[in-house]
Symmetry: C2
Subunit: 129 residues, 2 copies
Amino acid sequence: MRIGELAEATGTTTKTLRFYEASGLLPPAARTSVGYRDYGEDAVGRLDFIRRGRAAGLTLAQIRDILTVRDTGHAPCGHVRQLLAQRLDAIDAQVADLHALRATVAQLHGVATNAKPDTCPPEQVCRYL
Amino acid sequence: MRIGELAEATGTTTKTLRFYEASGLLPPAARTSVGYRDYGEDAVGRLDFIRRGRAAGLTLAQIRDILTVRDTGHAPCGHVRQLLAQRLDAIDAQVADLHALRATVAQLHGVATNAKPDTCPPEQVCRYL
DNA sequence: CTTGACCTTCCCCCGTACTGGAAGGTCCAG
DNA sequence: CTGGACCTTCCAGTACGGGGGAAGGTCAAG
């Protein structure tokens, strides 16, 4: 399987695949006699793994860590759980931040809206922010 | 007011202030006879403005646009309202995304947690992700 | 007079996740 | 045998919001 086929099969690009290899997310691919990358079917699964990790909000560095742990055979179960638990905390914190931000923005928006545009000279406008 | 004092007064750094000036968020500061930046009290207000904008989730580019509009005297009222309305939409979308992400992560976390670490051989672990 | 804290410009660097493009080699159809 | 589609490496750039640190000038205290 050449890099273009793998890219097609996994919904990504050849650029991204080479980038992943350079970043240590994919092992160095086998090469054909002329130097083309030659992937096995397992590469699709690994890329799906990466895609799911990304969808779960993990960074490439975190995914790489998990893959490294798996590849080297060290017990990753707790590691994965811990990572996911941290993600849950981070998401909750982010949602809380966004709630506060939304309240602030909504208030500013309300003030700006109620200010009646016609009576809003330029030099006063930015008090609304 | 020197740059260090202004940084202290506004809770930022001299690096950031010079960066803001270079980015067009602050007008070129007046200089003392030896070339030190010399700020008036209005700089504090402008930086508070920037800080509030940042807290409301605006990018520096958006803040710069608003400031430019204000500085040049063109009617910004609708502009500010529109920007804030867009922010509200963006925040709502982001919260929705985070809800979906949280559900995904929580599910993975539950699976990984119920998997009993001891019975979790390395080659199976990453199915949890 | 020296020491230390401040100031200046300058350029490069951080992390994140890629993307663009140049220069060159390979493969297959017509 | 030629053209186009594919592959290779490498360099550089995107956007964001700054941070690090060098080399040098300035100022106030002791």
